[in-house]
């Protein structure tokens, strides 16, 4: 049936045009139908679709001054972590080396970096996560709302998901997301909202690809 419909869809207007061009009168019913379809197409502008998954828009990174970089924070990572920091497409914030963690790792993706830190001490497990993205999604009808909390001098959000604290804010032009998970769930430092806010305040700039890296990246991008 599909092929028939397709042929009809393409063929019917051609037949009408052919008929008119030859001075013949096409049969009444099809001609009226065709005119009606054409009229409809003329009066209605093409539709605009609604984007599924949001419309992607890359954030413009505002790189911090090199002088603000905390070398000690950078040097707290192994070679793999340092390489990830160096190549990060967004400024890498990390907890300072004074935060006692058994493991700390930085990973990076095309549009993001993430920090993961973990410690287990006296029966309490603590996991710290931090991620930043430069790829935002714009959703129709979603209008900005200021976060009700102040994080690092900016409007931010603080939430607790199944016992896991999250704090998020926008800084250096990109969106940061800090997480704090404990086991037991309410063991320190997860026993007080102030702890994650303090953790956010203490984050240090460890590096990133910077404007020079962005320029190199841009040079590699092919349209």
């Amino acid at each position: 049936m599909r092929m028939v419909i397709k042929r009809m869809a393409v063929g019917a207007p051609l037949l009408v045009l052919w008929g008119l061009g030859c001075g013949a009168t096409p049969s009444d019913e099809p001609a009226l139908q065709e005119r009606s379809a054409v009229d409809d197409l003329e009066v209605r502008a093409p539709s605009r679709g609604k984007v599924r998954g949001g419309e992607r828009m890359r954030r413009t990174v505002q790189w911090p001054a090199e002088a603000t970089r905390a070398l000690a924070a950078y040097e707290a990572f192994d070679a793999r972590g340092r390489a990830a920091i160096d190549e990060s497409p967004v400024p890498v914030l990390v907890p300072g080396p004074e935060l006692a963690l058994d493991q700390r790792e930085v990973l990076r993706g095309p549009e993001w970096y993430s920090f993961w830190g973990h410690r287990e001490h006296e029966g309490v497990e603590v996991t710290v996560t931090l991620q930043a993205s430069r790829m935002a999604r714009v959703y129709p009808g979603v209008r900005p709302q200021p976060g009700p909390h102040t994080l690092r001098g900016r409007e931010g959000l603080v939430t607790r998901n199944e016992g896991i604290w999250s704090a998020s804010w926008i800084e250096h032009g990109v969106a940061y997301d800090l997480g704090l998970e404990c086991a037991p769930v309410d063991a320190a430092p997860c026993d007080d909202q102030a702890e994650i806010e303090a953790l956010a305040e203490g984050l240090l700039y460890a590096g990133g690809q910077g404007e020079a890296g962005e320029a190199r990246e841009k040079g590699r991008v092919m349209r």
Binding site: P46, E55, M57, H118, E125, T127, N161, S168, A183
Partner: protein, 555 residues
């Protein structure tokens, strides 16, 4: 009134024969059809849900390896602390329909919930109530970015993070790359030493313009993923009309087999399949009269004519694939696709380029990156002078001393006349709901050029979006128009303080022509400037106006 979304006919059959499909498909068939309550409809008394049919992650894989699975509340379900009694393993918890529980009552910031607070994700029970049996699976290809005592996070290439909570027996490590569908851990009841019910708590954490990183709604993405898991292909048909499609519009028809007389929903996936995370997917209705189809389809209104997005008119080759969403299953690709196109961008208008400094600006103005942002070669764009940053948000005002109710757009440093409702509409400005500002505040604001008839936004390969706008006269240190900007013969006080304006602010038939505002392409003594540094003081003016209004209201 109760509304259920039910998979019928072929869908049910597919669900029941799923074990025969092969590896990765469902292995535990169920005699009952998959049903789900609409998104946003929470268990009664459990809070206010978000009625949102958006599929936030098209193409997502279902996060449990095999079905059946049951999305429902742990807290308000049987065995939950707020539930009707019973135990967590009651059969009612392991049966359809699914229930959304995003935004269920909680007391933490959730900006996308109607109340501003709520549950961050979706609770999902696996096929049985046994802990440590059923595998979770990567919802998308990505990297394991964190493993906590009861959490595993997987981050996709675009930064979207998928959270798996309460699992056990993890078989992944931090830094490991995962393919879509790869095993992560087993559904369990881990909760930092104190067990919870056996379930997967699943989140989508994403950077949403206007908020930053938030927990996005998961429910509709889970439904489409579940349909895919079971191979439930929707019942629909249609075709692309290649001959009639062009850079103006993409033309074709589609019919939903479950609703043969209704308007079918068509998906158009640009530069990838509809389940490709890298593709841009739009949905539109096939609802236009197509008399040529009446006889064959039994009804006529199945045509579609969809605009080629402005952003894709970039002189590059693009491919569009078309699908119809049939009843109760995944999208069906239409015949005679894909449609390939290469379209030239519109010419750049004259003016200065003003950067929209963040996606939040785009969201505040309600602009569409896909439909309202053109593309231009970088060199061509660089040839335009740089102007000040584009206003962070639209502020449309009238003066309380202006009987004519002249509308002004407040543009940092200036006020700019909005000359008609049509212009306001083109910019998304609330013509019928302007803010009323005190004349003494508005009068002191220099007049800029009238707002252009329509916005023209453009980007280049660097992704930075700019608006092409009129240059404005520079301001002096005290925020007034620079007299040197005046064209010859103009009154050098005009527009500087509004003291020549009827009502103190607005013009009558001749709004004061701002010095140098002589229209597009004409030269003047105007100097464009970047005013980022002055933005803070400008927004403080908005604050002053707001406070003045409040004082007046309090009198």
């Amino acid at each position: 009134m109760s509304r259920r979304h039910t998979l019928t006919g072929a869908a049910v059959a597919a669900l029941m024969i799923a074990p025969l499909i092969g590896p990765g498909a469902a292995t535990a068939g169920t005699p009952e059809p998959f049903e789900y309550r609409p998104p946003g409809e929470l268990v009664a008394g459990s809070g206010q849900g978000r009625f949102d049919e958006t599929v936030y992650v098209p193409g997502m894989r279902f996060p449990i390896e095999e079905g059946p699975a049951f999305a429902n509340s742990q807290v308000w379900g049987a065995g939950g602390s707020q539930g009707p009694g019973g135990g967590q393993c009651d059969t009612v918890n392991y049966s359809y329909p699914w229930h959304d529980n995003y935004c269920e009552t909680r007391s933490w910031d959730m900006p996308m919930c109607p109340s501003g607070q709520g549950h961050q994700g979706q609770d999902i029970r696996a096929a049985t109530c046994s802990a440590g049996v059923h595998w979770t699976a990567a919802a998308a290809a990505g990297t394991v970015t964190s493993i906590g005592s009861y959490s595993v996070y997987v981050t996709g290439a675009d930064g979207t993070r998928f959270d798996y909570l309460h699992g056990s027996n993890a078989v992944v490590s931090v830094g490991q790359s995962l393919a879509r569908g790869e095993r992560i851990n087993r559904v369990s009841n881990q909760f930092g030493g104190t067990p919870t019910t056996v379930h997967l708590h699943f989140n989508i954490r994403r950077d949403v313009a206007g908020f930053g990183v938030v927990y996005a709604p998961t429910y509709m993405s889970l439904i489409t993923a579940y349909q895919e898991l079971y191979g439930l292909v929707g019942n629909g048909q249609g075709a692309i009309d290649q001959e009639s499609s062009s850079c103006a519009a993409m033309v074709g028809w589609a019919q939903n087999g479950e609703d043969p007389e209704g308007a079918a929903t068509v998906l158009v996936a640009f530069d990838g399949a509809e389940d490709d995370p890298a593709a841009t997917v739009i949905e539109a209705l096939a609802d236009r009269p197509r008399p040529d189809l009446c006889e064959s389809l039994g009804s006529c209104d199945h045509g579609f004519e969809i605009e080629v997005p402005l952003r894709l008119r970039d002189a590059a080759l693009h491919e569009a694939r078309f699908y119809v969403i049939g009843g109760g299953g995944t999208a069906v690709e239409l015949e005679d696709g894909p449609f390939s196109f290469t379209c030239d961008p519109p010419p750049l208008p004259a003016g200065v380029r003003r950067e929209l400094e963040a996606p939040e600006v785009m969201a505040q103005w309600g602009f569409s990156p896909l439909y309202q942002v053109a593309w231009a070669p970088e060199a061509e764009l660089a040839g335009l002078a740089a102007g000040s940053a584009f206003p962070e948000r639209p502020v449309l005002v009238v003066s309380d001393g202006d009987a004519g109710q002249t509308r002004w757009l407040m543009d940092p440093g200036y006020k700019r006349r909005v000359e008609s409702e049509a212009i306001a509409s083109a910019w998304g400005l609330p013509w019928s709901e302007p803010e009323t500002w005190p004349a003494e505040v508005l009068d002191g604001v220099p007049v800029g050029t009238p707002l252009r008839a329509t916005p023209f936004l453009v980007t280049s390969d660097d992704g930075i979006v700019v608006a092409i706008d009129d240059p404005q006269c520079a301001l002096t240190e005290d925020g007034q128009l620079d007299p040197s900007c005046m064209p010859e013969g103009e009154d050098d006080t005009a527009g500087s303080a509004g003291d020549d304006l009827p009502g103190g602010t607005g013009g009558t038939d001749g709004i004061p022509v701002p010095p140098g505002a002589v229209g597009e392409g004409e030269g003047c003594a105007c100097r464009s400037q970047r005013s980022r540094d002055g933005a803070a003081s400008w927004w403080s003016l908005l604050l002053v106006a707001g406070l003045a209004r409040r004082r007046r209201a309090g009198r």
